[in-house]
Amino acid sequence: MGKVFAFHGGVHPPENKKQSTRTPIAHAPLPKMLYIPLQQHIGIAANPVVNVGDRVLKGQLIAEPVGRISASLHAPTSGIVRSIGPHPVPHASGLESDCITLETDGQDEWIEHQGLQDYTRLEPSVLIEHIRQCGIAGMGGAGFPTDVKLHLGDDHIVNTLIINAAECEPYITADDMLMRERAADILSGIRIISHLLRPSHIMIGIEDNKPQAIHALEAVLKGCELNIDIRVVPTKYPSGGERQLIQLLTGLEVPSGRIPADIGIVCQNVGTATAIHRAVHFGEPLISRIVTVTGDAVAKPQNFEALIGTPFADLLEAANLYEGRLFRLVMGGPMMGVTIAHDQIPVIKTTNCIIAASDEEMPQAPPEQPCIRCNMCEQVCPVTLLPQQLYWFSKGREFDKARNHNLFDCIECGACAYVCPSSIPLVQYYRFAKSEIRTEEAEQRKADHARQRFEARQARLEREQAEKEARRKARAEEAARAQQSRKSTEADKAQADPCNTAPAASAAPDLKQLKTAAAVARTKLKKARDALKNAEDKGLDGIDALRVTLTDLEQKSEEAEQAFKAAEQAEAAAAAEKGVDLKQLKIDAAMARAAVTKLERALTKTEDEQARREMETELVEARKKSDALNQSLSEHSPA
């Protein structure tokens, strides 16, 4: 027994452990249905690799890890996957989450599996990968993927390995029984961890209320070659907290916001060590764990080796639950556990205890009364925080101040609430404050991100606008220059041939106008014709007036057409004289041809005589134009 230090505060709630240690660990009966949540660990939820209807064998991989901080899931027994979807999970919110539902077939058939031959010969990364593939996560309560913790030896110097055998919370005896019955397995697991992390010193921290466990461990450690010590610590809640145990055994405090590996210490639970042993030596993935079922409402409180995914109801039945006495069902211990609403919630990798309490054992919480500032809470806080101040700040929603008072160092052990004479649910306030702060930070990040995107978008729009402006300006300049050069060549030409170019120069701008005028005249004519027809059909007045207008418009239309055509021909001639662009010629020819085809097609469709006549004249014109252009094209194209 070496030196044991101390930590500030702590409480001594009644232990209530004797009820569940009278009988050895029992195997829970095989349940009919198993519900395996995809999120049983810290990190990203696992991704299913089986489909509904598949038959799986015991130990078969059913979900793979996603990303570095994640863990895999395996079928706890053989059976058929019935569904993959929402189901109640062990979470304080009572919400549902995705689970793989397995209907067991009773055969308990294992998949092919075997342990590693000589793990000491393997590359450490290969060994850790094997542990990862077996889905091992921290079984002390947090569920941190063990392979990530074992990789800490890569970039940290680990000189102390602490095995957490304290189990300080009342009622829970899972680790105690594990140590009494399977101490050899624990030692084997410790050996594997020690091989990976290479600490210079190993300590097992255990409370003095477990004499048989201490005895069992001592027996197994006889003659062990590792530098391993059993340190017995006085029973106090919460000595099993990672940082508290480190302080107890080494006197060192893990700095706020850092991990124990930063001061050269790694902590592992005895249950995790056993799971590592089974994974490495037998190739068995993590598919079961020891769960304490206790409380006054069960007739036979004991520890079960339960499959992951077993509904609480099955375990309670195996322990002979007496429904009439059940007042409150708690998952976890009385200090840090959560009251759950119903018993279809499954056992997960971190479930260590189910308490079926009667109303005398765990009555309804008395109503909250005003704080009398007695400071009992500060006296018992194991992290030396100021719970009273944290309470005032959380209540007054002054979250900045709460954070500055180290709110996030609170381990939510519940010692402060346990001693509060006003029965204030202090831990609820801290949890509320923490989640508010986290949400605010997430929203702030999102808002900053949205602002960046918004500003980037504004910049992009401005840039596009600027580019458009630049392009338009360039085009305008280009057009101006072209106009300028055209005017200068025409000016030269005008000196050489005044009569021909003048109409061309004047015709060029006028061409478009003439075209529009001709089109307008045509439309007016058509409208007048329609109006006349309408009037004639319906026998309206003013038909004579309309007829007069009609003849007038016909004439105007003719004139406009003539003017346009003349100008066009002049233009074409001028263009021909200038040495016309071949490409432009080709385009014009093609367009003329297309116009001809269109007119021909339209002609075949129309019935109206008047319209047909018009179209025929147009068609003749179009054909003439097309021929002219084609001829011109053949003349100008390279031989």
């Binding site: 005003p370 005032w392 700040f393 209540k395 007054g396 002054e398």
Partner: protein, 193 residues
């Protein structure tokens, strides 16, 4: 040396300007809602007090006394204080716009802070020399700052406590100030100055 120490102890504890002599109560009540504003205000006031104490003394001794214009001391001191405060305002606006916004109207109101004028006038009354004026002004400022910071810290705690409805706000603030004042009066007789 001991004399300066005595001046400091006297102005900070025994004859604290806010809690014992009851000068400068306006910013004391007005800016003490939050600790950050209180600290900003106390820094600003320290700067103003020390500087105006020195300048007032200089103006008095070099301009007013030689020309036998001692009766102009009030006007001259107010002028000095106003200028110093204006200067401080500009500096604060430049260095910490947030503090400038938070202090709001109370920053220019340091001009009318009777503690500042009081220090200037008391320097004359006590016939302090140049160095003693500096010490006196600085000590007064430290005392003011201490009272302000302590008071704002208490007020912040009271803000989230269960105060009976009739007492909420200024009333409980006054009661607290009174109790603080009682405590500080316990220093009476420590130093005879």
């Amino acid at each position: 040396m001991t004399e300066f120490l005595l001046i400091l102890i006297s102005t900070v504890l025994v004859n604290n300007f806010v809690l014992v002599q009851f000068l400068g109560l306006c910013p004391f009540m007005g800016v003490s809602n939050k600790l950050e504003t209180a600290m900003g205000m106390s820094l600003a006031t320290t700067f103003v007090l020390t500087l105006s104490s020195v300048c007032s003394y200089l103006v008095y001794s070099t301009l007013l006394v030689p020309f036998e214009l001692e009766y102009l001391q009030t006007i001259a001191f107010i002028l000095v204080i106003a200028v110093v405060v204006q200067f401080t305002e500009m500096v604060v606006h430049k260095t910490s716009p947030l503090l400038y916004k938070l202090l709001g109207i109370f920053l220019p109101l340091i001009t009318t802070n009777c503690a500042v004028l009081g220090v200037a006038l008391l320097n004359i009354k006590k016939q302090n020399g140049f160095l003693e004026s500096i010490a006196y002004g600085f000590g007064a400022a430290v005392g003011f700052s201490m009272a302000l910071v302590l008071f704002s810290a208490i007020r912040e705690r009271i803000a989230v406590a269960d105060v009976p409805v009739p007492f909420r706000g200024a009333a409980i603030g006054m009661v607290t100030a009174g109790l603080m004042s009682l405590a500080f009066m316990g220093f009476a007789g420590l130093v005879q100055f």
